[in-house]
């Protein structure tokens, strides 16, 4: 790969990371914002392809390589971001981190988790995605939600032992 192609990848990475941090800090939310995340990534990738293409001496084959490397890095970063945005394990670790070298009783940890709105946040995100309808405390599965659940059950029987969820 040419130095200009590598520099393009590096610049796109810095641009994406910078914009991700700035945009997420400007508008904090507990929603994972998957579409915004991948939209931002796709925009940065497109910009880097255009910038490389207009550089003197650009080779079409290197456009393919740039796209490949950037796709890989975006997916790798999305896995890390997904863990940060959704991982229960990280939440537990950070909670225990606050206790220093002490321990917590499981019951108190559980009560703390149950009294938080974390579960409700997920339910609310599903409501916003049109998978369920909320009416007060009552939740009803929509047609779209039913299809998604059925598809997940089918796929999970092929690729794992069913959706354990824990």
């Amino acid at each position: 790969m040419s130095p200009s192609a590598l520099l393009t990848v590096l610049s796109a990475g810095v641009l994406f990371l910078g914009l991700h941090i700035v945009l997420w800090r400007l508008k904090p939310s507990s929603a994972p914002r998957v579409f915004q995340f991948f939209g931002l990534a796709a925009t940065c990738m497109l910009v880097s392809e255009i910038v490389y293409y207009i550089l003197p001496g650009a080779k079409p084959a290197e456009l393919f390589a740039i796209l490949g490397i950037e796709s890989f890095l975006v997916i790798l970063y999305s896995l890390a971001y997904g863990s940060l945005a959704r991982s229960v394990s990280i939440t537990l670790l950070t909670r225990l981190y606050g206790e220093g070298k002490l321990f917590l009783e499981f019951e108190s940890l559980l009560n703390e988790y149950l009294s938080s709105t974390r579960f409700e946040e997920r339910v609310h995100a599903m409501h916003e995605a049109g998978l369920i309808v909320m009416s007060g405390d009552r939740i009803t599965l929509t047609v779209k939600g039913n299809r998604a659940a059925r598809a997940a059950q089918t796929l999970s029987h092929i690729f794992s032992d069913g959706v354990e969820g824990y």
């Binding site: 890989f72 971001y81 959706v163």
Partner: protein
């Protein structure tokens, strides 16, 4: 231009499909009881199939692909493998997906309290937390004895500090 990329894209797709089929076959053997059912076995076998796919991909591309095309193909193949691994993980451990399935199993209607207490086919949120804590203990990130959780090990403190700082950086406050 398409003549340059299309065969490579088809090569990548063919190898990816091959890896997925082999993985599904191994999972079917595990379910049938013909192979070890330890989770680490399934993970190692997937990694082995992915690694085996790399030389196959290069031999499929042969001499017709230039070095940048080969580099791109290698990373696209890696991307496909990461997507597949993540899909498998979500299908097995997806929290929100499980809520959706619990709701479906209850005839499509329930209240939040019932879903919380019956989460994961009856294990409840306590079962979820317990399983995650056990996994963290297996990875030696924390100590757990009876009902006592903690303290974190030095690796656990490092992981927690990193997670905490990154969440603050992105202002992800009420998550997980």
């Amino acid at each position: 231009m398409m003549d340059l990329f299309r065969p490579t894209c088809l090569d990548i797709l063919a190898v990816l499909i091959g890896v997925i089929l082999m993985d599904v076959l191994v999972l079917a053997f595990v379910r049938a009881g013909w192979l070890s059912n330890k989770p680490v076995f399934a993970s190692l076998s997937l990694v082995a199939w992915i690694a085996m796919g790399i030389p196959i991909l290069y031999s499929l591309m042969g001499r017709r692909a230039s070095l940048p095309i080969q580099n791109g193909a290698f990373f696209f193949y890696g991307t496909g493998c990461l997507v597949y691994m993540e899909m498998r993980s979500v299908l097995s451990r997806g929290y929100s997906l499980r809520i959706l399935i619990d709701l479906r199993n209850r005839g499509g209607q329930a209240d939040v309290g019932t879903l919380k207490s019956s989460y994961g086919g009856g294990v409840g949120v306590s079962g979820l937390l317990l399983k995650r804590l056990q996994t963290l203990t297996e990875f030696r990130l924390l100590k757990m004895e009876g009902g006592r959780v903690g303290p974190l090990t030095p690796w656990g403190r490092m992981a927690a500090a990193t997670g905490d700082r990154l969440r603050r950086l992105l202002r992800l406050e009420q998550v997980g």
